[in-house]
């Protein structure tokens, strides 16, 4: 298993290089001069030119790329054109925020999605199946931003239960932190929960029809043992794969959710950075997300192997 992890980590290197090249290609495709966007209403040509020199925007792209890679390897991701803050410091500031949102959303999604999927598959064709499906469908059919605004209007404005926006660091005040993050995590989690429920249901249905489940039942094992130990364990393979794949969806969802609830995380940082052509920030974030994603993939592959022994020989 260790050798496998090592091999996979080596394989990840070209992926990281691909990502960095991709990000760099993207920035040249984007129209809009970052320095001009920064200038806003004040465009002193001498200052603009000075800044272009300062940020080496006049250099050829390969040169810019090599400089960036060189600095990045030394842990320097450059500074934000907009606020002059180091990109690495910005990322360090935002990472815990989005991580907290993502973890809370994933917890909500798993707690709702997996049991609902198991139950719905087990009770296939009954009203429970139907209800679980309707709830899942509702979660899938409501656009995130719509649900967010509706919840703010209902929960914050009309009922006054939870704050409409803002962010409290977990280390400052854990309870308040969870309170402010509850609505965004719910909004982000519902869509994921619905997807998870449907995949769990699909996987469980397939497994429940298989021969060995019939064998297990024929052996007279208790129903919950069959369901949990035999069926769910085997259904976990696709469920784990989907959950890992949902990591990307979680990040994408966080982009919108953070916009609505004005949560100062990754998503908000990157959207503002793209709109403002704050390239150093975009590059830094995409690189970090990329590495995080690769790590998640590695985790999924490891889980895949543990759960599905047949794969080990391949």
């Amino acid at each position: 298993m260790l050798a496998f992890i090592g091999r996979r980590s080596l394989i990840a290197i070209p992926t990281v290089i691909l990502i960095s090249v991709f990000v760099f290609a993207l920035q040249k495709l984007l129209p809009g001069d970052p320095v001009l966007v920064m200038a806003g209403e004040e465009r002193d040509p001498a200052v603009l030119e000075y800044l272009r020199e300062q940020y080496r925007l006049n250099d050829p792209i390969p040169v810019q790329y090599m400089i960036w890679v060189g600095n990045a390897l030394q842990g320097d991701l450059g500074i934000s054109l907009r606020t002059n803050q180091p990109v690495l410091a910005l990322i360090a500031q935002k990472l815990p925020v989005t991580l907290q949102l993502a973890v809370m959303a994933l917890v909500i999604a798993v707690v709702i999605g997996v049991p609902a999927g198991v139950l719905s598959a087990y009770k296939k064709g009954t009203w429970i199946d139907w209800l679980a499906n309707v709830v899942a469908l509702s979660g899938l059919s409501v656009p995130n931003f719509w649900l967010g605004i509706m919840l703010i209007l209902l929960v914050s404005v009309k009922l006054g239960w939870l704050p409409a926006s803002g962010y409290q660091p977990f280390s400052d005040d854990p309870l308040q932190s969870i309170r402010t993050m509850l609505m965004p995590a719910f909004v982000l989690g519902t869509g994921i929960a619905a997807t998870l429920m449907r995949h769990t249901r699909s996987a469980m249905l397939s497994v429940l029809k298989s021969d060995y489940i019939r064998t297990a039942r024929a052996k007279g094992l208790a129903e919950h043992v069959v369901l949990i130990k035999h069926a769910l364990r085997n259904a976990l393979v696709p469920i784990v794969t989907v959950t890992t794949l949902l990591f990307g969806e979680l990040l994408a969802g966080a982009v919108l959710t953070e916009q609505i609830f004005t949560i100062p995380g990754f998503g908000k940082l990157v959207v503002d950075a793209v709109f403002n052509r704050d390239y150093a920030v975009v590059q830094g974030i995409v690189l970090c997300t990329g590495i995080a994603f690769i790590f998640m993939n590695l985790l999924a592959d490891v889980a895949y192997r543990i759960l599905n022994p047949r794969m080990r020989d391949k």
């Binding site: 806003g40 001498a46 000075y50 300062q54 404005v157 926006s165 004005t262 949560i263 100062p264």
Partner: protein, 503 residues
């Protein structure tokens, strides 16, 4: 001894913390400010933060007169080449550095010579600054400049601590040190900027809040929801369409002021190849578009009547407005006649680029429908603002819907846009007479002379029409009804002097 001191400190902090919770004012901003260095700053929203953080040499009144702030008095030499300012005594910066003539000299030097400084053009007329004595400073100008005093009422006149500036250099914005009523505590980008009351402020009696927190919340609906939920005490730039509902809410109140800026359609008349369009080449076509638009209906439909219809660089209420050209009534027949006269009896097709935000798109869709009835068929090109700006500078547009946030001095709304070498002249307009009039208007400190010059210039501009002005935004603030003493200013800033909160 040390223990006692620490205990006293701890107690003082404890007390301050309690009071802080009670008197923290939370203000919702539409955008996240950029770098908090007055010399490098570029955004409107950044200036709102400076109003609480950094005092200026002079300020403006709600009626746009220049009033004392850090300078208590000023005097022009008869030739208009020297400005002598008397400074306020006993002012200190947040770090304890005293404010004096030497500090002013250092500030002007930084604004002019820091490579990253955006204030260079605003201070381009200043050739020297000297400390006459500790509290007197003299500006020497290369040519008379009527706009200078208004520049000193904005970021160019903001005084930062020379000690902190020397130590931090270009990174001053990470921990700004000024002399305003509140000092900097922390900033979490895109989340909050926290300022706390500066105990040694020269006008401390006017400051009734313990701290102020600025929270950028871009979505107008969410910003208002936060105010309603009590998570904000105040917000800037309320959507005009929400004004009626806020007025009907007993827990909230509204304040408003007509802005100094404008919104319009810039037409490419001579900026590269794309100027070769019927509307770029013939002023009559531009006039036809202007008269095809019903500005009052725009104001009613898009802004529920809350904004001000306009057709010049200044709102009709401004002393600089040319009364000979009132806001035109819509006249479709006149528009068609102008088109026919220009040789386009069957109408024309044009494209207009517009920023992809709902309000500007709503505006352009209304104009599209109106112009269509007069035979001007508009195709809208929605663009991200960054792209729109680049295309506009590069001349890659026929029409472009943009605006200007406005300046106190009339020069700021027109000179850069209409003079041949103007830094913001994206339409490519060039007229020797307009250049002469606008340059001359800069040099006089006499209001009547200046007004006559601006009127002459606008007589020409109203015929040539490189920018079709549409309306003037009205700043609308929504406040918790417990807030007292807030005075709206046409520059859209939030001045916290005299503002108090009851919970």
């Amino acid at each position: 001894m040390a223990l006692k001191k620490n205990l006293a400190l701890a107690l003082a902090f404890g007390l301050a913390a309690t009071a802080l919770q009670a008197q923290d004012m939370r203000i919702g901003l539409q955008e996240d400010p950029d770098v908090l260095d007055p010399d490098q700053s570029r955004t409107f929203v950044g200036r709102i933060v400076y109003a609480a953080l950094c005092d200026k040499l002079v300020d403006i009144s709600p009626g746009l007169e220049i009033v004392p702030m850090l300078a208590t008095g000023w005097e022009w030499s008869s030739d208009g080449l020297q400005l002598t300012m008397t400074l306020r005594d006993g002012v200190t910066f947040h770090d304890g550095t005293p404010f004096n003539a030497a500090a002013v000299v250092a500030n002007i030097d930084r604004s002019q010579n820091l490579p990253e400084s955006r204030r260079k053009s605003e201070l381009s007329s200043v050739t020297g600054v000297e400390a006459v004595d500790d509290l007197t400073v003299r500006f020497t100008l290369g040519a008379p400049d009527a706009t200078l005093i208004a520049q000193l009422a904005d970021r160019a006149g903001m005084m930062i601590s020379p000690t902190a500036a020397a130590a931090a250099g270009v990174d001053f914005g990470a921990n700004p040190v000024c002399s305003g009523p509140f000092s900097f505590v922390e900033r979490i980008q895109q989340d909050r900027i926290v300022l706390t009351r500066f105990a040694d402020y020269w006008n401390a009696d006017a400051i009734k809040l313990e701290s102020v927190t600025f929270l950028p919340i871009p979505d107008t609906t969410v910003r208002l929801a936060n105010l309603r939920a009590g998570d904000l005490d105040m917000l800037e730039r309320l959507a005009a369409t929400d004004a009626a509902s806020v007025r009907g809410d007993a827990d909230l109140s509204i304040a408003q002021a007509t802005s100094l800026g404008y919104q319009g359609i810039t037409i490419n008349v001579a900026n590269g190849e794309r100027a070769n369009s019927p509307i770029g080449q013939d002023a009559r076509v531009r006039q036809a578009l202007s008269v095809a638009i019903d500005r009052d209906v725009i104001n009613q439909v898009v802004f529920e009547g809350a904004f001000a219809a306009g057709n010049q660089a200044y709102p009709p209420t401004s002393p600089w407005y040319n009364a000979a050209y009132p806001v035109p009534a819509r006249d479709v027949d006149a528009a068609r006649a102008l088109l026919a006269e220009a040789g386009y009896p069957d109408g024309i097709d044009i494209t207009v680029q517009v920023a992809n935000n709902p309000v500007q798109q709503q505006l352009m869709q209304v104009i599209q429908a109106m112009a269509g009835e007069a035979g001007i068929r508009i195709t809208l090109e929605a663009k991200e603002f960054a792209t729109l700006l680049s295309e506009q500078t590069a001349g890659n547009f026929i029409g472009s819907q943009v605006g200007w946030s406005g300046r106190v001095d009339p020069d700021g709304n027109i000179h850069q846009f209409m003079t041949t070498d103007g830094g913001l002249n994206d339409s490519g307009y060039s007229n020797a007479e307009v250049d002469r009039l606008l340059n001359e208007a800069r040099t006089s400190n006499d209001i009547a002379t200046r007004r006559a010059l601006y009127t002459q210039a606008s007589d020409i501009l109203m015929a040539d029409m490189p920018i079709i002005y549409l309306y003037h935004q009205v700043w609308i603030w929504a406040l918790d009804s417990g807030i007292e003493g807030f005075v709206p200013y046409p520059d859209g800033m939030i001045r916290l002097q005299g503002v108090s909160m009851t919970q």
